[in-house]
Amino acid sequence: MLTVEAITSAYGRINVLHEVWLEVKAGEIVALVGSNGAGKTTLLRTLSGVQPARSGRIVFEGEAIERLEPHQRVVRGISQSPEGRQVFGPLSVEDNLRLGAYRRQDAGMRARLDHVFALFPVLAEKRRIAAMSLSGGQQQMLAIGRALMAAPKLLLLDEPSLGLAPLLVDQILAAVRALRAEGITVLLVEQNASAALAIADRGYVLETGRVVMEGTGAALLDDPKVRTAYLGL
């Protein structure tokens, strides 16, 4: 579904991604793990088009998209829940969700809204409340819900568990699995490597802007190098 070929990206003159290669097949949950500053967020931003790629190709469903504007990528079915939630603070929960469907104002929007409310019932309770007054966990649900409103084929999730209580982390990851069951492909970036690899079909380990390891989620979880470097075991 998604093939990333030798993507390089930079902030100013500093290269953050050095020829990253990776693949996501339809229906998979793929985890991208690595320490702080490894380039995970930059890679997702490059995929969404909010961070320019310096070189390389991004092929989505057979089409090269690395030169497309972010909104054109949303239309093609790539949607992102960014790191740090990034909700529209002063706007209501429902407005945040409706804006998620900005590029898909179709008859299905009502159904998707109900679906997000079914997935995260607390959002339905707080639909009229300004997003900035939600708790961190609720904002995270809102960010994921907003990304789902675009009816994505590929959902990019950046650090959905960051700063959340363990119970909420489980709830969010359960939601991710439920989404895959509905046919949404997920690329998941996580510092919480054990949780991410546990639900992932496959995973990539990113280190200073390069993919240094790849394998099935289970294989990476058992890998001694991964265990010492990222799982603290």
């Binding site: 969404s48 088009g49 909010v50 504007e69 972010p70 909104h71 949303v74 239309v75 949607s79 992102q80 960014p82 740090g84 990034q86 909700v87 529209f88 603070g89 002063p90 706007l91 407005d95 409706r98 804006l99 998620g100 900005y102 590029r103 104002q105 900035m132 007054s133 939600l134 708790s135 961190g136 904002q139 907003r146 990304a147 675009a150 700063g163």
Partner: protein, 290 residues
Amino acid sequence: MSEFLQLVFSGLTVGAIYALIALGFTLIYNASDVINFAQGDFVMIGGMATVFLMSAGLALPVAAFIAVVASVGVGLLLHRLAIEPARGASPVTLIMITIGASIFIKGVAQIVFDKQFHSLPAFSGDTPIPVGGATLLPQSLWVLGTTLGLVVALYLFLEHTLSGKALLATAANRLAARLVGINVTLILAMAFGLSAAIGALAGVVATPITLTRYDIGTLFALKGFAAAMLGGMGNPVGAVVGGLLIGLLETFGAGYVSSTYKDAVAFLMILFVLFFLPRGLFGGRSVERV
């Protein structure tokens, strides 16, 4: 008492004009962090174009409509030719660009129009309406009514249309706006077009009272800026309240102290805000949950 009421009427009238200019600042500032100092020139274009189109024989509504459309065109060109090519530059650079654009617009206006003061006939005659011992000019009602109408229209647009919500979303979080697929360049162009339309309409209704000339934009921009600062930069309600307050303070200053220092009031307010109220009356999004 009647003198007081008289000053309130004139204060609210000029204040309403400042409020519209401040609203223009607010729209563009929210969408882009740019303070557009060419905002006052939209007021000039609205007034001057209406004057010249009417003297060419057009009826007032037609002339005003064309003037507003022309101003929107200038606003869109300003965005396309001056702001968009500098995308990614710091807000300070962009603000300097708008100052340059403002000087350029004045230069062109000198050539297209002329260097004289012009006025428009009052829309509904000059017979003052007596109210409680003071008098109210019919044109003041036009100014206040137009301001009220535009504020309501802008509110409805922002709160009840998808494009309006997209503008608010872009103001709240530009990265997230891009990620949900909002074309922020288009939103910014829309903000410039809307601000130009609001400014031009303010110019049309204000010209019978304030007169107009190619260079009146500077003072209008500074007063509108003071109003937007006083209200809290970026807050539409603050812009309106700030505009009315600056108008009232200015008129009371002129009426009770000295009209020589009328224009100084706005600048004193800027200093006051900078010293004591850096966020303005309605500003202050300082608390944010992480």
